[in-house]
Symmetry: C2
Subunit: 381 residues, 2 copies
Amino acid sequence: MNHPSRRDFLKGMGASAAALSIAGRPFSRRLAVAAVPTAAPQDEGGTKPMGYAVVGIGSLAMGEIMPALVKTKLSRLTGLVSGHPEKARHFAKTYGVPEKNIYNYENYDQIASNPDIDAVYIVLPNSMHAEYTIRGAKAGKHVLCEKPMCTSVKDAEAMIAACREARRRLMIAYRLHYEPYNLEAMKMCRERQFGPIRMIDAEFSFVIGDPTQWRLKHDLAGGGSLMDIGIYCLQATRYLSGEEPVSVYAEAWSSDPVKFKEVEETISFTLRFPSGLIANCHSSYGTDGLNRYRAGGPGGWVEMDPAYTYVGLVQRSYKEGKTTTTEPTTWDQFVAEIDAFSDAVNHDRDVITPGEEGLRDMKILMACYESVRTGKTVSLA
Amino acid sequence: MNHPSRRDFLKGMGASAAALSIAGRPFSRRLAVAAVPTAAPQDEGGTKPMGYAVVGIGSLAMGEIMPALVKTKLSRLTGLVSGHPEKARHFAKTYGVPEKNIYNYENYDQIASNPDIDAVYIVLPNSMHAEYTIRGAKAGKHVLCEKPMCTSVKDAEAMIAACREARRRLMIAYRLHYEPYNLEAMKMCRERQFGPIRMIDAEFSFVIGDPTQWRLKHDLAGGGSLMDIGIYCLQATRYLSGEEPVSVYAEAWSSDPVKFKEVEETISFTLRFPSGLIANCHSSYGTDGLNRYRAGGPGGWVEMDPAYTYVGLVQRSYKEGKTTTTEPTTWDQFVAEIDAFSDAVNHDRDVITPGEEGLRDMKILMACYESVRTGKTVSLA
């Protein structure tokens, strides 16, 4: 994994005054809907910004992604794909998207002939990621797909193959790879500023609301808190250590067997890495407000708490007996992530978090569930 | 486990201005040696304070326990047991202990006929705890014994039996059961101030110094970081949840096979409790400065960081969207712990952390090592 420097990302990242809200999703920030841009943005070189069709108008698209596409420099919202025509028309009007660029799940493939749309951003329930990525690639569009990439290793492989065949880029929306404090933490660990990393502990939890939502249905989500938020802990262990785990052990439980009939509420997993390093991870849909990781070595440690929210991230590091604490973040992670994808496509460069990165996670997530089922440590070698 | 209220402990607890030092042991506080008390202290009722012989003059005895015995209200230092006569004479003089009350490991049993000595405080390497507890009880003395209680379940059982037979009290020096912030955290969790506790994560690490010290020798320590500091994480999971674990899974590793030839450097263990609760624990002799636990439920969480130091403990709790942070502690945990033992003996009351409490930990610690050896989850039922 190669990462641009912190400075590259800080550059051009507009500070947002939006406050962190804990309501609903643990990292939500409910903004008043942004105003219609008066003119299409142009990047510094005068290149036409990449046009994105957002596929799926759920809370993430409404609260974060569409508002971010107003602030991006290299990207703009040019299409919408939704099963709800009225909702689509409402947001098309709000964001200045022509009505002709609204699609539904049946006529989605017709985006192929729409030159306004260069890429699709898949923001659907997890189990739909594969189909809409593959159809998007077949329609000749680049694909930015939310995490988790999908719900099976087989689907992840099919998504990669489809994009490769169509000669289109595939990026998984691991936004923290584009977030300065996380990049700084990676750098500290990879440069061995604390010596070799010998312990990582990561936790992410929130209390899930509406018991009828798709995240609690196995067919749509592919799993419970692990797929949705445990994946952030897994990602942190991998991007901080720079290593790939060789084994995993996991245990899961649910305090409410009715609400969590189909997917796990809480899961703990222990990863072993080639250096010997052990990482403890813990995610839950039944505990409020855990949002943290810490990586340590003989020379100290770096912590993020909160680590995974959209704004308000705080980094603490400890070295030579001194603790340093940053200000909470205010920048927009989605702006950075989306423009990073546009930039890679524009310059025909590899993306930082390609499909292969998502596939690696899918293999580990599935191994976690295998460990829960068997009660045994699962080898990833 | 029954615990007195926070108020009981705050009462009469002298604040210490000593600063937290990270040098050497992770929770060390190196004080100038206290002055000789000019008169023997008396408790409020005029009862003669309990006389303690400290058995083993190592860094803990020198840095914490003997200085604490100057500040205790119900307890005072009246004897010393050491293999180093000159060191013993030096500290006898410093603390006003008569020379006749100095013993060595051979004539230790003669404390039986010394009325100045009511109790022994065992501060020896772990594997010597059993012998000196049993000989102390046989000499008719009450026994306060440092943690870990010993190095095997069999020894723990023999220690309990010996004290029962001699009709003497046995207490394991789990000082955090006598520390107000930890008591407050217990109370918050047991009273379900956050709802039922659904996640606990605990870490304790420091970089161990001198490679020749007894803590790195299996015969003396009985294990590595688990026995010395992982036990604090285990204790936290038990006293916060109020439950006894039903299974444990553990993995261990050492980055330096020479320094850690006999005992583990780093160990991760996952405990499962009857309610379903999972706790992740992590201890290391190879990582600097991790010292924390957090317990959370649907209504929020309580964290201690640092959690296990002698002074400077900080509690953060999160409830109803609000985070509360305490001032760092300044009180002397050893004063509270030792006087709690004297008080229990004086009033012929059960102690809060008896031998049975230590025995429970010994069974779990040994199960951790069994899990490391076998690679399997070990049942504790």
